[in-house]
Amino acid sequence: MKKTTKKQTESIVIRTMSRIMIPFIQLFGLYVIIHGEASPGGGFQGGVILGTSIILLAIVFDLREAERRMPWKVITAFMCVGLLIYSGIGLLDLLSGGAYLEYTKLPLPLPAHEISALSILFVEIGIGITVMAVIILLFYYLVGDQNAS
């Protein structure tokens, strides 16, 4: 396997452009997640976009750099927290007398459609966090092993 040098091997154009682009990619991913219920997009697509920004970071700079920004423990925690948000909202609906993910039964002092919109927003955020973590984790598992040897 080829050795990765400590120096950054990509050209300065690519490095500068991705340094500028990555925050905007992440902002767009957040927009897709949060605005997903009213327009095309949603938790899955936004999560994939957020994960892709970290993958771009790892391609252009180094895998070490990406692992420094997004360590394994943080990714595992993100994965679990996203799943907890999703299933927690489902269980809250179950506890308040409805079916699983039946949002309108939540005992909040709001109109039914607002409770539904709020719950869908949190569910989408949970999906987005989990998908982002899993995409980055797949990438680390595929590429990280080769760099270690």
Partner: protein
Amino acid sequence: MIYQLDLLLLLFLVVCAIMAVRLKDLLDSIIVLAVYSLIMALVWVEMNAPDVAFTEAAVGAGVTTFLFIATLVKTVRREKE
């Protein structure tokens, strides 16, 4: 729906699919598969399904291509004649 555009896109789609299967070099195959995904996303938009098109463009053309390339690094690129 613009039928000429649909016909053109579907023609490209079939050409890309056949090329992705027939090419000998696996890296070329992966790139053609990414092009296939992009055209497929255009077809989804044309069929008024922007949500699916979003998924296709993000996953099919973005992540899958990269995962294929990362897998290809660990195997051989050309099949033995």
